[in-house]
Amino acid sequence: MENRKISGFNTLHPAVLFTYFVSVVIVAMFCTNPVMLFLALIGGVSFFGVMKGAKLFFQDLCFYILMAVFIAIINPLFSHNGVTPLFFMNGNPVTLEAILYGVDIALMLVGVIYWCKCYSEVMTTDKFLFLFGKAVPKLSLVLSAALRFIPLFRRKLKEIRSVQSSLGLYEKKGMINRVTAELKVFSSLITWSLENSVDTGASMKARGYGLKGRTHFSVFTFRKRDLGYLICIIVLVGIVILGMSMGISDFKFYPEISEFNFGLKQIAVYISFGILSFIPFLSELWEVIMWKYSASKI
């Protein structure tokens, strides 16, 4: 939270952001074409890098590279499809296709995880509630109330703990004593929070919550810029999905690996998806350049 910067892509309208993330993640999650998976991965990683800064970025990246290698190694153990056996292990063939499919899956997994991390950074709970609040007002009340209660309960928890520890609750050492002590604290938290919440509910009811004609406050407006981004996203996703449904970007690993095709149609699909997955990175970069440019004029 503390190193979240105000940035170009973050400030788009929540509906545009949600459309964007859903379309990229779905394509990245379910397509098998290594070129597209690679584009998605690089797009996600570079966006995350721009958002979070270099230090955190490299810490994370090392972990995920290890994970990817592990997945690629593990796959041939479970999958014996493919026509090019490299060697036999316990009587089962370890095939080239299975190893490469493992690499492909690893690309996909790491790419999707990075996109989800970016999603968590960008689509904060207020944007999420803004999007779904109108469709399901009662559920969104439950969600936002629960989100507000969590920090409240953590603070209350501290209070209960300190009172109880001054009464000698945490004196006995050992795991079982610790668990029973925490259970006691948890139980009193439940009692307090239930009683307290009824007051909240009654007060809301008294002020006419749930009556007709209630309006919502929101800080989000749909600007021209949002419309531009939205059209751009829809056109690009449209091209990609059309391409996928026509089988242009099909790529098979079993039984034999398909050859890479770089015809005009394939390149069109790859370029559209490439642009799509680099939109956030490019818009962040654009902001930085514009900022430097305007600062240099002062």
Binding site: E182, I190, L194
Partner: protein
């Protein structure tokens, strides 16, 4: 009435269309696509039902408190890995507040705790499975309230089922098809986690179930909720 029509259209037209569409486009990963669609679309009817039926503001707030408690419980017991009161609270919510509330409690706990611990492709599955556990507890509430041992068994089984279902998703996502070898390997590597889920559910239900019922009873008497 409007919600009912939307629900029917969703169930019989839109969801099958989305699934067919996805199977055509993502031919190699059709199973993963279908399972994701089922998980997401499975949540929608429950949400709409809750939205339609629940009119009592106080009950809404109580549900919010229960969700927040089960998320906060993850922080309290963070010193013991996988030892969480989440399922126990979801089950108790289902029993005492009805099956729709149980579903919403389970699903929202997954959603909110992933806002804190990180969203991922597993979110819809956790939402759906925890929701189903709450819903089942709500539907079986007569038996579970009468027979305490049955409640404990339900909690333990829910822990095991949760783990097994999440492994199904992992398998689909990795392989595109249901690879039995990988599924078994996933289950075996997740065995310690599964056991600690089951044990923690059992312990939390054993300790929380009765006081929890009393506390809700007290609310009913004191405030007439």
């Amino acid at each position: 009435m409007k919600i009912k029509i939307i629900k029917q259209i969703l169930l019989w037209v839109i969801i099958p269309l989305i699934i067919i569409f996805g199977v055509v486009i993502f031919y190699d990963r059709a199973y993963a696509w279908i399972s994701l669609c089922v998980a997401i679309s499975g949540c929608i009817p429950f949400f709409l039902t809750y939205e339609k039926r629940q009119g009592n503001t106080i009950k809404l707030v109580i549900l919010a408190v229960l969700i927040a408690l089960s998320v906060a419980g993850r922080f309290i017991f963070s010193f013991l890995p996988h030892f969480k009161p989440v399922t126990a609270i979801v089950v108790l919510t289902g029993i005492y507040m009805g099956y729709e509330a149980g579903f919403v409690c389970g699903a929202f706990t997954a959603l909110i705790s992933n806002f804190i611990f990180g969203q991922g492709p597993w979110t819809p599955f956790q939402m759906f499975i925890w929701g189903l556990i709450g819903c089942l507890a709500g539907l079986l509430n007569k038996f579970l309230l009468k027979n305490f041992v049955l409640l404990l068994v339900f909690g333990a089984v829910a822990g095991v089922l949760f783990s097994c279902f999440m492994d199904i998703w992992t398998t689909f996502w990795y392989d595109g098809t249901f690879n039995m070898g990988r599924y078994l390997a996933n289950i075996i590597t997740a065995l310690p986690v599964t056991v600690s889920y089951a044990v923690s559910n059992l312990i939390f239900l054993l300790i929380l179930a009765k006081p929890f019922g009393k506390k809700l009873e007290r609310l009913k008497i004191k405030y007439g909720v």
